[in-house]
Amino acid sequence: MNEHTVKVFDDELGQLRGLIAQMGGLAEAAIEGAIQALVRHDLEAAAEVVQGDKRIDALESEVERLAVQLIALRAPMADDLREVVAGMKIANVLERVGDHAKNIAKRVVEVEQANHIEPLSVLPAMATVASDMLHDVLDAFAARDAELAASIGERDRAVDDFYNSLFRALVTFMMENPKSITQATHLLFIAKNLERIGDQATNLAEMVYYAATGEQLGERDRMDTISGK
C-alpha cells in the first residue's frame, strides 16, 4: 500500500486502526475474563470485567470522534473511505461485544451453585470459539485480508451448535432438577450472550470484507451460486 502524499493522513488512519485493535483486545480479554470468573466463581475478577467495560465504551467514542474528524478534514475516498466507515461500525459492534461479556460477568454472583450443573463445563470451549472468531476478524481488518474475513462466518455454525446442544442439555437438566431452574436459566442466558458474540463476529467479518474489497460478502456468495461454484 503506497503512502498518502499527505503523511498525516496515514498517521490518522493508523491511529484509527490502533484504537480498533485496542478495543478488540479488550473485548477478547473481557470474554475470557468473564468465563474464567464464572468457572472459578471469582467475584472480584467478575467485577473487574464489569468495570473494564467502561474503557471499551470510552474507546468507541474515541473512534467515532476520530472517524468524523477524518471524514471532515481528509475527505477520504475509495478504500480509505470504506475503511473509516467500517471502523466506526466495527467500534459500535465491539462495544456491544463488551456488553455481552459484561452481562456474563454480572451473572457470576448469581450462579454460585452452578458448579453442580454439568453443562457449565462446555461454556469455556464455546467462549474460545467465539473469542477466536473475534480475534481473527480483527486481524483481517488490520491486514485488509478479505479471504480471512470471508472464512470467519462458517465458524459461527460451531458456536450455534454449542448453543443448541447447551439449550437442550439445560432444559433437560431443569426438568430433572426443578430446584436448579434459576441457576440453569442464568447459564442459558450466558450461552445466549456467547452465541450473540459469534453472530457479531460474523457481522464484523462482513464489514471487513466490504472495507477490503468494496463488494458485499453476500453478493459474492450469490455470484458463486450463479456461476455454479
Binding site: 500500500m1 503506497n2 503512502e3 498518502h4 502524499t5 499527505v6 493522513f9 475527505a75 477520504p76 475516498m77 475509495a78 478504500d79 480509505d80 473511505l81 470504506r82 468494496g214 463488494e215
Partner: protein
C-alpha cells in the same frame, strides 16, 4: 436485447489520438458522453483531460501543430468530417473556460453576441427574450436585470463566469464543455456554479474538467479518470469514488498518486 434504461449517447469518441507536433498527448481514448448526465474528467496535470475536452468541439483546430486522429461523433455525425461547419459545431457544443472571459461589452451584448452572429434572433424583442432566458438559466438574471447595459467585466468573478455560461447557453447548444470553470472562484461562487450545473443537467449534455475531485463527486453522474494520455477508468461517479476498479484510479483519488 436493448436496455431502455441506458442513457442516450450524445457524443461518442472512438480510438482518439491527439499529437502536438511529436508529443503524443492522447493515446487511444474511447468514451461515450451521455445526454442526460454530467460527465466529469479528472486526472493529474498533463494527463490530457483538457486536451481531450477540446477535441469535442474542435478547439484544437486553432493550434497549428495539433493533429487529431480517430472518430468523434455528435448524434452519430462525425464532427471531423469535411462537411462539418466548425462555427456551427461550436454553437452546438459550447464551451466555458477556466478564467471568466466576458467580452469588454455590456452584459446584454455579451449574451446577445452569439445569437446575433448566428442570426438566431433577428427582431429586438426576440433578442430581449433570448438574453433574459439565458441569464435566467445561468442564475444571473435577478442580480443583473437592472443593469444590463453595464460592462460585463465590472461583475464579480463568479458573476462573470455565470455570464459566460449565459453566453454559451444563448445560442441554444446541445452540449456544454466546461474547462475548470470554478478554479478562479471562491467557494460560494463555486457552489452557485455547481448548483447551476445541476439545474442545467438534462437540458444540455455537460462535460466538466476539474482538478477538484470533490467537485467531480458533487456535480457529476459519470466520471472519467485520465492518466498520461490514457482513459484509465470511466464509470458511475459513486462507484469511482467508493470502489474504483483500477489501482491507478484508486491511488489518485485517495491521494496516493506519485
Amino acid at each position: 436485447m436493448t436496455d431502455n434504461s441506458l442513457p442516450a449517447t450524445k457524443m461518442s469518441a472512438r480510438d482518439v489520438h491527439v499529437y502536438y507536433g511529436a508529443t503524443h498527448a492522447i493515446k487511444g481514448v474511447s468514451i461515450d458522453v451521455d445526454q442526460e448526465n454530467v460527465t466529469a474528467f479528472i486526472g493529474p496535470s498533463g494527463c490530457g483531460k483538457s486536451t481531450f475536452l477540446r477535441t469535442l468541439n474542435r478547439m484544437n483546430d486553432t493550434i497549428p501543430i495539433a493533429r487529431v486522429e480517430g472518430d468523434i461523433t455528435l448524434d452519430g455525425e462525425n464532427i471531423y468530417s469535411p462537411a462539418m461547419d466548425v462555427v456551427q459545431l461550436r454553437a452546438r457544443v459550447g464551451m466555458v473556460f477556466q478564467k471568466p472571459n466576458p467580452f469588454p461589452k455590456s452584459i446584454y451584448e455579451n449574451v446577445a453576441y452569439g445569437p446575433r452572429i448566428h442570426g438566431l434572433a433577428p427582431v429586438k424583442s426576440d433578442m430581449d427574450r433570448v438574453v433574459e432566458q439565458s441569464l435566467r438559466r445561468a442564475g444571473l438574471w435577478e442580480e443583473v436585470k437592472d443593469r444590463l447595459h453595464d460592462s460585463g467585466t465590472a461583475l464579480s468573478g463568479g458573476q462573470q463566469q455565470r455570464l459566460c455560461i449565459a453566453r454559451a447557453i444563448a445560442v441554444d447548444p446541445e452540449v456544454i464543455l466546461m474547462d475548470e470553470p470554478c478554479s478562479a472562484l471562491d467557494p460560494i461562487a463555486t457552489a452557485k456554479i455547481e448548483e447551476l450545473i445541476h439545474e442545467l443537467r438534462g437540458r444540455y449534455a455537460i462535460v466538466i474538467v476539474t482538478h477538484n475531485m470533490q467537485q467531480a463527486a458533487r456535480v457529476s453522474q459519470r466520471t472519467a479518470f485520465f492518466h498520461l494520455g490514457h482513459l484509465v477508468e470511466y464509470g458511475v461517479t459513486s462507484d469511482i469514488f467508493t470502489n474504483p476498479r483500477q489501482e491507478r484510479t484508486k491511488d489518485y483519488i485517495t491521494g496516493r498518486y506519485g
